[in-house]
Amino acid sequence: MSTLEQLKEQIRKALPDLDVVIGWEQGYDAMHATPLFIREEADIDRLIWSPLCVHSLGTYLTGLTKSSKVQKVGLVVKGCDSRAIVQLTQERMIPRENVTLFGVGCSGCLSHARLEYKVEQGGHYVEDMHAITFNGDKVEVAVDGGVESFDFDTVCLEKCLTCRFPNAIATEHFAGEEVPVAPKREKAPSLEAFEKLPLDERFAFWQDQMRRCVRCYACRNTCPMCVCRDHCISTSRNPHWVSQEASTAENFMFQMIHTMHLAGRCIECGECQRACPVDLPIMLFRRTMVHAVKDTFNYVSGADPEATPPLLTFKAEEDNINERGW
């Protein structure tokens, strides 16, 4: 039985006890998946599972579990998605007992941006892509009556190159085979490259990038860890941290808020950058913070439901904080 069939079977069995199960279905075209809310058995047939299933569905949890109508939620989760649930559980943001996780192993998700870039490089128009198949290490795209084939590693999301959690953890169900843990890169290549720049060039880089932000907050709202939602301090006057003006400095300040609020919590799902309509490379911020947390507190977010997030605790003698002789 395929992973998808197994998944469907598990959901079918559990559905009577759940108000809703969230998975993915085919989106508006062959290239896109979209979240699927399964409420009735008939909906299960629409469920899909493929590298198109990029969305971290944990982002719906805090809203749903607080709603008075929905009590019990099922969720299909990849490895990275499940870390979000673990982290939310640690922070007591969700009633974990009311959440049923259907885990899968994931060999990586498609980066639409990278694929489109590749297709254009090949002299095609992206709108002419009309089918996609994932075939082991290859991705085959039907375009202009022909087929273009790419190495999966060249069109997957960057996070998948460094993934250490391909299999969903701490789940109630698991469908299919576990995927071997085999990160292809130690560090995200974009971050590695960026860190080679001197400080003034980095600053100029962000100056150039942040101008483009339209403050649509797609990055914030796709983030499964952004739990403030309607009460985010970026969109309030009391407290009034950022101006309504979408200027470079204010846009940058908003990103700083997002990053600082993710310190010790970010599970590197990369949804923020994927969701960004103007393609801001904000994962550079997130990953830097993740590395700082790992280096300083030896802490990996969303790995252990029993752990305490590093900013909610302390040690009188910190292991890795150098007081710098001041």
């Binding site: 979209t34 339209v214 649509c216 907050y217 939602r229 309509p277 393609d279």
Partner: protein
């Protein structure tokens, strides 16, 4: 007014010349995406694709300073404070080059609201009347395109001043307005001649690429039928994450917010794009929000475009069919599907044992 021809190589030179007199907004590669940016001399505009951001920025910028103010205190009598206000009405003339017909046509949705008998918004009108649109006829039909569903087509010249039609080696420039015609009075242009026929072919060919148009007739009533059916809207909005990608990228979304940003005794009054998907939209000072959930808010967005607005403006749908909201939505919410769902709605059979509602 006659059609003219400009070669690909001359396009940049033309924009260089235009930018001597006007602010020229043209699609540019801004890192990895194409957005409207002020034209920089010598830089080739990107005219072969739809920019991510809508052309409305040219007339209705995301941040618009309405006025500056400054309080003056009389050191002799501190109880006496006067305030100086400087209106910052737009002065520039601008040309927006390279919008698609759908995006340009979006301005008509604005015009009915900000430049009508009842209201003449001086800031909007000031820009609108001094901004010309040089639109590029569309040759690339995407899966998210539905301009034809809302009464347009890939070579629609409505609201444009010039329509550029891509032909071999360049563009046939068809003047639509007198002012547009004046823009073509430039040594970079040659008479179009036979290329006009090629242009007509191109237009026809691209129109044919689109599937049969969906009929939105009567969708307003159908949507209003579902107005009180919150369950319907909860189902439709389930996957919405309440961000603002759809509204900020929309060529027809015209809601705004006004805030005063003060520094000491000075400050500015800002008009910024608002976003009806946000909890803060229509959040009242008391803390009450008439649209407390994303279901309420999505209902507002869809209904505004397909029911309320047409109701107020002679049936005109407040959607230009560019598909940006679908394409850039992080979770692929499809506004077409929502309207269709309302159009084809049939009540589910009541479950045995009684009616839930």
């Amino acid at each position: 007014m006659e059609a003219k021809f400009i070669s690909h190589d001359d396009t940049t030179g033309w924009l260089d010349a235009l930018s001597e007199q006007h602010v020229v907004l043209a699609p540019m590669w801004d890192n990895t995406v194409v957005t409207f940016r002020p034209h920089v001399k010598g830089r080739t505009p990107v005219l072969d694709r739809m920019p991510v951001l809508p052309p409305k920025e040219g007339v209705f910028p995301q941040n618009e300073m309405l006025l500056k103010y400054k309080y003056d205190k009389d050191p002799e009598n501190l109880d006496r404070t006067s305030v100086q206000v400087k209106e910052t009405l737009p002065q520039d003339t601008a040309v927006v080059v390279g919008a698609r017909p759908c995006g340009t046509r979006g301005m008509t949705v604005f015009d009915r609201v900000y430049n009508c008998e009842k209201i003449r918004d001086p800031y909007y009108v000031g820009r609108r009347e001094n901004t010309l649109f040089v639109t590029v006829a569309c040759t690339r039909i995407e899966s998210t395109c539905f301009c034809h569903d809302v009464g347009s087509h890939p070579a629609d010249a409505e609201a444009s001043d010039v329509l550029l039609v891509p032909v071999a080696g360049g563009y046939v420039a068809e003047p639509v307005t007198e002012r547009g015609n004046a823009l073509l009075d430039s040594p970079f242009f040659a008479p179009a001649g036979e290329r006009s026929a090629e242009a007509a072919e191109v237009k026809e060919k691209n129109r044919a690429k689109l599937p049969a148009a969906h009929d939105y007739t009567g969708c307003g009533e159908k949507l209003m039928d579902r107005f009180n059916d919150l369950a319907f809207w909860e189902e439709q909005s389930a996957k919405c994450i309440s961000c603002g990608a759809c509204t900020y990228l929309c060529p027809t979304c015209y809601c705004f917010n006004i805030t005063d940003e003060s520094v000491g005794l000075t400050g500015k009054r800002l008009r910024t794009w608002d976003n009806c998907m946000s909890f803060q939209f229509t959040l009242e000072g008391s803390g009450h929000n008439p649209r407390p959930t994303k279901a309420h808010r999505l209902r507002n967005r869809v209904n505004h475009k397909f029911a309320y607005y047409p109701d107020l403006h002679g049936g005109a749908i407040a959607c230009c069919g560019c598909g940006r909201c679908i394409k850039s939505c992080p979770v692929s919410v499809d506004i077409r599907a929502i309207v269709r769902a309302a159009q084809t709605y049939t009540p589910k059979p009541a479950p045995e044992g009684g009616d839930e509602r």
